[in-house]
């Protein structure tokens, strides 16, 4: 069972599968870094993104790329609604962190129930078939899904990286992440930037859900578990470290998928909760990476400092 071919096959497949995990984790980490919320409503955005694509492809019989666009439109629309009618209002009202937490959780469940009402509880996929043709590359079966999925993920990550590094808005975003009030003093429109980061997260998770939904079955509650995975990766990657979250997501994805080698498949679902728990118990502040000299280093202050502010 442990021969090289099997192991490398499983490693490849789990690597390919972790592509969407990476996207979910990056989106979650981005919103946590910039908007300073544990956005559990991301599950709702994911659900919207998926079902928009689903409606496009399966119900309206649109071609795949149109469904993809529709999916992104769905995720973005939901992100917009969340920020505009939710977070912005709560911010203005100076609602407590607990209030915002409850809001994000309840919204994602509200969406899940709404979707259950509309589409039922049966799992579905974006395309009629979730099986993809396979080519053998050096003894490893590579499905037609794998390469585009990895390519899309790399593309999104590169885009995000370039955006944060080179675009004006990206720099503004980092400034807001570092110190929102200070950024506002320098004339950055905080609300616009926060909206932008929410919308970008919406795009990212919609791409992720399109990938996921074209390969696995989705039902209304599925997004919650996928999002918890992203939460675990975000914590392991170190709060405020987007790329750390991405790397952690790959590692967790590979571990979970290759766990078929070690544990019965019935228990695979349980692994997610083990990750979550161990992330919090063992690595609450993420893996300690060597400190980079970077002007934005202060973001690495753990959540404690985020919530306490400085002790004056």
């Amino acid at each position: 069972m442990f021969d090289l071919a099997v192991v490398s096959q499983i490693l490849w497949t789990s690597f390919a599968t972790s592509s969407y995990f990476v996207l979910f984790a990056v989106a979650f980490a981005l919103v946590l870094k910039v908007n300073k919320v544990f956005n559990f409503a991301q599950a709702g955005v994911m659900t919207c993104g998926f079902y928009a694509a689903y409606v496009g492809v399966r119900i309206l019989n649109l071609p795949g790329y149109a469904g993809f666009m529709l999916g992104i439109a769905g995720g973005v629309a939901m992100s917009f609604v969340l920020e505009y009618f939710g977070f912005a209002v709560l911010r203005q009202r100076k609602a407590s962190a607990m209030f915002v937490f409850i809001f994000t959780l309840i919204v994602s469940q509200f969406i899940a129930y709404a979707v259950m009402m509309i589409f039922g509880t049966w799992p579905t996929t974006i395309f009629a078939s979730m099986f993809w043709p396979v080519t053998l590359v050096g003894g490893i079966a590579v499905s037609a899904w794998d390469v585009p999925a990895i390519a899309a993920t790399v593309l999104v990550l590169t885009g995000l990286w370039a955006f944060l590094k080179y675009s004006r808005n990206g720099q503004f975003m980092l400034a807001v992440a570092d110190n929102a009030d200070l950024a506002e003093l320098y004339g950055i429109q905080k609300d616009r930037i926060l909206m932008l980061s929410m919308v970008m997260a919406g795009v990212i998770v919609s791409v992720g859900m399109f990938l996921y939904g074209s390969r696995a079955q989705v039902q209304a509650a599925a997004a919650t578990e996928l999002m918890l995975f992203a939460v675990a990766a975000t914590i392991l990657g170190g709060i405020g470290n987007i790329w750390g979250a991405a790397i952690a997501a790959v590692v967790l994805g590979v571990v979970q998928n290759s766990s078929i080698l070690f544990i019965p498949s019935a228990w695979q679902g349980f692994l997610l909760f083990a990750f979550l728990f161990f992330a919090i118990v063992l690595f609450p502040r993420g893996f300690r990476l060597p400190e980079r000299r970077n002007t934005l280093k202060r973001m690495a202050v753990a959540p404690q400092a985020l919530s306490d502010g400085k002790g004056n």
Binding site: K297, R298, K310, G311, N312
Partner: protein, 252 residues
């Protein structure tokens, strides 16, 4: 005389900002030390380090000879360390009286088991704490507003409540962070008197203050801090007269 608080080689930096650069400092019982320095010198940070709000990079802190290393804030408080905060940090959902009631080193309801199974003891502890609080409120002139909400009283009175709450601790060492900022008139005199009384009872006190008159009236000695370093220690007059320090202070 041995010192109540003994700080040796204390270092701390946030990213690139050095807030404590191998600080050595002693606070002696019954003496009031004034901590002077420009904004951002690291005065509040020094208090945070002593209280365990911020963890030092290096160095040791001893209270009455006992090391405070690694102890959480609440344990330091129980060992006799009390402080006030630059931005007050009173409990807005509690009355003045209840703000004080939480101050004793040993609180009536610290142990849940006692709350559930020893109501008589709780009642006795509460009564004792209340008497103590009344006494302190009396001394600080806050008795008339004991039942008011802290938002409803004047800023000077709020500052005074902060000091009064710290006094409940019966502390060995008291750290006051800008007790006079924004305070004037009668309250000014009340705070001054309160600090004098506490010092007279053998408590070691450290006051951060920008109000030079207050420092001069009150402190036995002064320390000048700049960029996380203790630059000079001496009588307040000396420190104020030093042109070099004045220049640093006003940042010309």
């Amino acid at each position: 005389m041995s010192s109540t608080l003994e700080i040796r080689g204390l270092c701390k930096s946030f990213g690139g900002i050095v807030v404590a650069d191998s600080i050595d400092l002693d606070l002696s019982p019954g003496r009031v030390l004034g901590l002077i320095g420009p904004n951002g010198a690291g005065k509040t940070s020094l208090f945070n380090l002593v209280c365990g709000v911020v963890k030092p990079d290096a160095g040791s802190i001893r209270l009455d000879g006992q090391s405070l290393e690694g102890l959480p804030t609440y344990q330091r408080a129980r060992m006799g360390l009390a402080r006030t905060w630059q931005n007050l940090r009173l409990f807005p959902s509690l009355s003045v009286m209840d703000n004080l009631m939480l101050g004793p080193r040993v609180y009536s309801a610290d142990r849940l088991v006692d709350v559930l199974f020893r109501p008589a003891q709780i009642r006795a502890n509460e009564a004792e704490a209340r008497d103590r609080a009344r006494d302190i409120l009396e001394r600080t002139g806050l008795s008339p507003i004991a039942q008011s909400r802290v938002q409803d009283i004047s800023f000077g009175q709020q500052k005074l409540v902060g000091v009064a709450r710290a006094l409940m601790n019966d502390a060995r060492c008291l750290l006051l962070d800008e007790p006079m900022a924004g305070v004037e008139g009668q309250t000014y005199a009340l705070i001054q008197k309160a600090v004098r009384d506490i010092a007279a009872s053998g408590v070691a006190i450290c006051v951060v203050e920008h109000n030079v008159a207050f420092i001069r009236d009150l402190c036995d000695e002064g320390v000048f801090m700049f960029a996380g370093k203790v630059l000079a220690r001496g009588s307040v007059e000396q420190l104020i007269a030093d042109p070099h320090l004045t220049e640093l202070y006003f940042g010309t």
